[in-house]
Amino acid sequence: MEVTYKVHRKDPENGGESSYSTYQVELPEDATVLDGLQKIRDEQDDTLAFRASCCQGSCGECAVRINYKAQFTCTTRIGDVTKKAPEILLDPVRNIPVIKDLVFDMDRFTWNKMAAMKPWMEPDDEFAPTENLVPESEMADVRKTMSCHACSLCDEGCAVLPVNFDFLGPAAMVKGYRFVMDPRETGAKMEARMKVVEQPQGLWDCVHCYEADGKCPRGLTPSSKIMEIRDVAFKEGIKHEKVGRHHASFINSVKQTGWLDERKLVMETEGMTNVTGLMKLLPTAVRALRRGKMPGRHEKRPGADQIKRILEKAEDSK
């Protein structure tokens, strides 16, 4: 069948403006989008730049946006695209500097962010003669998570990255998860690991929007994994100072009265001695007061004692 490809172009040696090239390609019905790209490069336009390696959906190299949806070119059938749209529109993935055509800056998009997770083990007994004894039940989830092939399709869908490119993003957090959950890292190593995961632009910069869950070709639910790391952080004691204060204040408020005292929460989060932090809040507070929007008196709820009892017991059961 004849298919129309419309491909994003950018030539860094000629001004670097974005534009599109259109190609007509004759392809078998069950060809992949990558097959077509290769054919175009071979027969029509050898200046076209795009990445691919394994050609079997296993290496993570060929992610682009196909008709606005980030996918692998090597696993997407042309028929599935042309069923829904007259042409195959290819763009680089979002949120990311483009180098040429469909080739984008993987270092900044993926590799540097993953490296920020200090993604390696430094076992004390690295050269022990035998392996760690670990039950299979504890290994299975880590192994599944490690099937992440660093394609960053999850990053492409992240809600934070478009406004904050320095956020480490879900792919890096999945890498973090793999270590947080690894039964072979405990004690001081775990402590250090949580510090890394909770670094600025890390765990606490995620808005837990669950956007990434549906994006992973390996079904790894990256957003939910971040929530699981948060649960671990709560248990281990939050290392991020401000967030730690915020959550402690939150829980305390609910313990004391059954519900949330927003005013106290704001003050305690900034830290009672954090003068600059408090000053920054002032304009908001003043405006809110003027509009009658400052939370009113905060009273203890009926049932608050039961709530406190439950929370304290749950905390003890760590």
């Binding site: 809600a159 406004v163 956020f167 519900w259 439950i310 929370l311 749950a314 059961s317």
Partner: protein, 292 residues
Amino acid sequence: MKYAFYPGCVAKGGCPELYSAACKVAEKLDIELEEMSDVACTGAGCMPTQLSDPINARTFAKAEQMGLPIMTICSTCQGVFSQANHRLQDAEYREEINREYLAEEGLSYQGTTEVKHMLWVLFEDYGIEKLKALIERPLNGLRVSPFYGCFLRRPGNIMVPTKDVGARRGYLEDLTQILGAENVDISGKTKCCGFPILTANEEASLGMVAKHAGESSQKGADCMVTPCPLCHLNLDGNQPRAEGQTGEKIDLPIIHLPQLVGLALGFNTDEMQLGRHIVSTKAVNDKVDMLT
């Protein structure tokens, strides 16, 4: 038609206008609300599930005792509740929580409580035809951008669990039009408002406010409507600071869902307390007033 009403802390704290609008609208629609006053905050994702699941189980158990489904007016409450309820469908886990935490108070949760956001209630329980019949002031000419935020939509397997409720993905747009207003779509309508990272990364959080509200404003919307008071707090309360960050004026009123419904049902802008918002709602007031 009766619900155990869970307004959430924000509606009782920072956004009292949401609470009163929801109550007024419910009354007008003849939806009876029995407020749950002796239950805890949901945890709002600021507590580990280890703490929040027991207190939420307690809330569900209380509603079960009342024999009523729960209605929320906050997407965050709804999201946390739905996820907890999902976990509590596991009988073993539920029994453990009953035994460890609820038994002492003589409570036990059987897993039957339904929890629904007011937006879902309108479509799934109340009925759109009934609602239409009660519209006194179609909001003709009002240009509204629906903004879902995260928690009414995701995680999809929990918030939109079956095909039956697949239409949930479009309730807000549908409602806007049913109320007579014009739907001004923005690309980030199901994206995050930025509220959750206000503490950790204020700049990024404000960046999101500027992005969503800015796009809507550029597309000529009169206001944005949201089912979540936390979205409201960030999009409305922090809009001036977001403007400060980008240096671009936005000036977009952010309306709570029940307020929009209320205006169409004939309440005036004072009754819906639009004056309590940070960003002036004057443009909305003027248009609505013109509609008599």
